[in-house]
C-alpha cells in the first residue's frame, strides 16, 4: 500500500431516502475535490450486491487504498462494506463511513440545502479520518481445550460433565475430601421429594467414569495468571502444589448455610433446630411425637445486615412441613413467614399442597418478629399476626429456623485470584445481570450455582449447563480472534504511574517487568478510557487515534 492516500468515496441515494432530501450528485462532485480523494461515485443502493461490486471494482481500477461510504449507519452496515473491501484485498480498517441518512437526510427532511451542506461536511470529516487510517490486524490467540471447574457440588459436577461431553479435558477442583457438596447434608429435595443422593450419586459416578475429567479432591486453587485461553493456575492439594494450564475457568464453589446462633434462642432453648437439621431428623424418623411444630422464615435474612432473600427457604419449609404431616397427619405445623417466596409452577404447587395438607401459614411483620421463650414442656412462640390483628401464643414441641444461604468465606480470596468482582452481599458478580448472567467481565471465567446467589438445585443445574456452554464456546473454536480496536502503550512515554491500570474495567492492563503499562489486547475491549486519561498521553486507541479524531473534528469546522 503506497502511503499516499487514495480515497474512494461512495455516496448512496438509498432510493430516495437520501437522494430525496439532499443533493447526492452535488455531494459526489464536492467529494471529488477533496484532498486525497482519488475517486467518487453515487449509487442507488451501495449496500446492494451490485453496489458492493462497484466498490470492489473501483478499488482495483483506481488503486484506492482507503474507502469511504456515505450512506446509513455503521452500526448496521459497516461490516458489510468492510467485507467488500477485504474481498478487494483492502484491510477492513482502511474503511470509514459517513452517516448521511439516519443522522442527516432523515432528520433534515425539509432543509435540502442545509442537509446537503451537512452531508458534504460529514463526508469531508470521514475522508479526513480515512486519510490517517492505518491497517490493523486482528491477532488470534490459541485457546487451551482444557476447562477448570472449581467446586464439586451439583453445579460443578454438572458443568464438568457437560464440558467433558462437549469433548474437553476438565480439571474438577474440590475443597473437601468427597464430591457432592452441600447436597451430601440434605435428604429430600423439593419440588419432587427426590433423595439428594439419587441426584448426586449418578453425577458423581459419571464424573468418576469420564476419562476427560481429572478430579482434584481436598484441593484449592492457589494461583491464577494469564488470560482466556491460557490461564496458568496452581492447584494445591495438601502439601503439594501442581501447575495446571487451562483455557477457561468455571466458578461453582457454592454457598454456605448461616448458623442461626443467637437467633430465637437457637443453641440455648431445647427443641430449636434449623431446616437443615430437621431434614436429617425426618430422614431418621427422629421427629417422633413432636405434635406442634413452628417454622420461622427469614431468620437472619432480609435484614439490615443481610438484606437479600435466600430464595429457597419458603419452598424448603413447605416441603418439610408437608413431609411432617405425611408422617403424622395429627401434627400441627405452623409456618411463620414474611412474604411467601414460593413462585412459578412447581414451587407454587408446593405451597398449595402444603395448605391442602393443613399447614398453617401465619404472616408476621419484620418490625414485629416472633419471640421464642422456654416453656415447661418446650419452646413457646409468641407471634403477632397482623391478619388476625392479635398476638398468638403457640406451645411448640419443636421450632424450626429457616436460615439463609450465605456466601462462602473464601469467595474473597478466589475473587482476587481470578480478578472478578463480588457483589455487596459477598456473592460473585456476573458481567451483566440480564444478558450475561453466567459470564464474568473477565473473559474466560464463568459462574454458576449458589456461588452466584442462593437458588434451587434445578436452577443451579440449568446454570451449570449454561456455564459449560459459555466456557465451551472459545474452547470449541480453539482460536480466538481478538479485536483490533484496542489500546497500545508507547513505552517511551509511559511513566508507569498505573492510572490506566486503575481505570481499566477489564484488567486488560498490567505492569511489565520494567514497571511500565502493557496491554493484553486479547482482553482489551477498546473503550479508550485509558488513552483519554493517561497523564503522559502514552496510550493511543487503534482506529480512534487522537490524530484521527482531531482531523475529523477540524474538518467539520473548516475546509482543509
Amino acid at each position: 500500500m503506497s502511503d499516499e492516500p487514495r480515497v474512494g468515496v461512495f455516496v448512496c441515494h438509498c432510493g430516495i431516502n437520501i437522494g430525496g432530501y439532499l443533493d447526492v450528485p452535488d455531494v459526489v462532485k464536492y467529494a471529488e475535490t477533496m484532498p486525497g480523494v482519488a475517486y467518487a461515485e453515487a449509487n442507488l443502493y451501495t449496500c446492494s450486491s451490485d453496489g458492493l461490486q462497484k466498490i470492489k471494482e473501483a478499488i482495483k481500477k483506481h488503486s484506492l487504498n482507503r474507502v469511504v461510504v456515505a450512506s446509513c449507519t455503521p452500526r448496521t452496515h459497516e461490516t458489510l462494506f468492510q467485507g467488500a473491501c477485504e474481498e478487494a484485498g483492502l484491510n477492513k480498517y482502511l474503511f470509514e463511513m459517513a452517516n448521511i441518512r439516519d443522522q442527516c437526510s432523515w432528520v433534515h427532511m425539509h432543509e435540502r440545502d442545509k442537509a446537503t451542506q451537512k452531508a458534504k461536511d460529514l463526508v469531508r470529516m470521514a475522508v479526513a479520518k480515512a486519510r490517517l487510517l492505518t491497517p490493523e490486524e486482528e491477532p488470534e490467540i490459541d485457546i487451551q481445550p482444557v476447562g477448570m471447574v472449581i467446586g464439586g457440588g451439583v453445579s460443578g459436577l454438572t458443568a464438568a460433565l457437560s464440558l467433558a461431553n462437549q469433548g474437553f479435558k476438565v480439571h474438577l477442583v474440590e475443597r473437601e475430601v468427597r464430591l457432592g457438596g452441600y447436597l451430601n447434608e440434605l435428604d429430600r429435595l423439593f419440588p419432587n421429594n427426590a433423595r439428594a443422593e439419587d441426584v448426586t450419586g449418578p453425577l458423581i459416578q459419571q464424573v468418576k467414569e469420564a476419562p476427560e475429567i481429572t478430579v482434584h479432591l481436598n484441593s484449592t486453587v492457589t494461583d491464577v495468571k494469564g488470560f482466556i485461553g491460557n490461564f496458568d493456575t496452581e492447584v494445591t492439594t495438601g502439601e503439594k502444589t501442581q501447575p495446571l494450564n487451562v483455557g477457561t475457568i468455571i466458578v461453582a464453589t457454592g454457598a454456605n448455610y448461616l448458623n442461626p446462633k443467637g437467633f430465637y434462642g437457637y443453641g440455648e432453648v431445647e427443641g430449636i433446630v434449623t431446616q437443615l437439621e430437621l431434614g436429617g431428623l425426618i430422614k431418621e424418623h427422629k421427629v417422633g411425637d413432636a405434635k406442634t411444630v413452628v417454622m420461622i422464615q427469614c431468620v437472619g435474612a432480609r435484614t439490615a445486615e443481610r438484606p437479600y432473600c435466600s430464595r429457597i427457604c419458603c419452598s424448603e419449609a413447605m416441603k418439610n412441613a408437608t413431609l411432617l404431616l405425611e408422617e403424622d397427619p395429627r401434627r400441627e405445623v405452623h409456618i411463620l413467614y414474611r412474604d411467601l417466596q414460593t413462585y412459578g409452577l412447581e414451587y407454587t404447587a408446593l405451597e398449595l399442597d402444603a395448605k391442602r395438607k393443613g399447614v398453617k401459614l401465619i404472616k408476621y411483620e419484620a418490625e414485629r418478629p416472633p419471640v421464642v421463650t422456654k416453656g415447661e414442656k418446650g419452646p413457646v412462640v409468641k407471634v403477632f399476626s397482623p391478619l388476625m390483628g392479635e398476638e398468638l401464643t403457640i406451645e411448640a414441641d419443636m421450632v424450626v429456623l429457616s436460615a439463609p444461604l450465605i456466601p462462602n468465606e473464601d469467595n474473597k480470596k478466589l475473587s482476587q485470584l481470578l480478578k472478578v468482582p463480588l457483589n455487596q452481599d459477598g456473592f460473585f458478580l456476573e458481567a451483566h445481570v440480564k444478558l450475561r448472567p453466567l459470564d464474568f467481565a473477565t473473559d474466560g471465567v464463568y459462574i454458576c450455582g449458589t456461588a452466584h446467589s442462593p437458588k434451587e438445585v434445578a436452577e443451579s443445574l440449568a446454570q451449570a449447563r449454561g456455564a459449560a456452554s459459555r466456557a465451551g464456546i472459545p474452547m470449541a473454536k480453539g482460536r480466538l480472534r481478538t479485536a483490533a480496536i484496542t489500546s497500545v502503550v508507547d513505552e517511551t512515554k509511559c511513566s508507569g504511574c498505573g492510572t490506566c491500570i486503575e481505570l481499566c474495567s477489564y484488567n486488560a492492563i498490567t505492569k511489565n517487568e520494567r514497571g511500565l503499562a502493557q496491554v493484553t489486547s486479547a482482553v482489551c475491549k477498546g473503550c479508550g478510557v485509558c488513552g483519554a486519561s493517561c497523564p503522559e498521553r502514552a496510550i493511543t486507541m487503534r482506529h480512534f487515534t487522537n490524530e484521527e479524531l482531531e482531523a475529523q473534528g477540524l474538518a467539520a469546522i473548516k475546509e482543509a
Binding site: 481505570l503 486519561s533 467539520a556
Partner: protein, 254 residues
Amino acid sequence: MSDFEPKIIGFLCNWCSYAGADLTGVSRIQYPTNLRVIRVMCSGRVDPPLPLSFLAEGADGVMITGCHIGDCHYIDGNLYAKRKFGLLERLVEKAGLERGRVMLEWVSASEGQKFADVVTGFIEMIREMGPTPAATDPEIRLNLRVAQEAAEAYRLRAIVGKEEKLEKKGNVYGDKLSQEELEKIMDDAVELEYTRNKIKLLLKEPMSVKELAKKLGIDSKVVLEHIVVLRQRGWVDLHEVRDHSPLYKTMEVA
C-alpha cells in the same frame, strides 16, 4: 444574529447515544442541521484536549453524549467521561468562554426524541450566546490553546485519572475524598496549570517577569513562583539579562 449558524461538534458513544441518534432518524424526528458527529466507542474516550482544540479553531460548541450512568457498555466508562468533562468545563471557563459552550448529556439507544431535544436545545443555547469569540479574538484563541496544553500536561490528567478512585476507594492511606474536596483540588490545580501553561506559551517570546505579570494581570511575585516551577520542569529557562532584569524563554524541546 438570526443568520448565525453555529458550528457544533458532537462526540457520540457508539452503543447508546449514536444508536439513539439513529433512532431519531428512523423515527423521522427533525432537528436543526448544525451538528457534526464524531463517533467514539465510549464517551470516556473523549480526551479534553480534543474539544479544546475544536473550540480554538472556531467551533461554537461541543457536545458529548454517552450511555446513562449504569448503562455503560464498558461498565463505567461514562463515569470517567463525567470526570473529564469537569476538567473541560473549568478550562473552557478559564479560557474566557462560556461554560455552556460544552455540554455532557446521557442519551440511551431508545431515546430518539430526547436526542433531538438535546441537540435542538444545545443549538438554541449556542445561538443565544452568539458566535464563538475565538473566531475573532486572537487572545481567546491563544487562551484555548493554553487550556489545551494544560489538558495535555501531566498534572491535571493525573488528578482526573485518579478522581474516581479517590472518591470511591480512597488514596494509598485509604482515606476517601468527598466530592467537595475533589472539586476544590481540581479548581486549584486548574488555576495553577492554566497560568503556568499560559506563561509557557507567552515565553515563546523572551519576556521579563514584570512584562509577564502585566500580560497575565497577576502579581509578579506569583509569576516568579511559577517561573521557578517551570524551570524545575525544564519548560522555561533564562534567556538573557537585559538591563538588570532577566528575560525568560520557553525551551525549544520542552
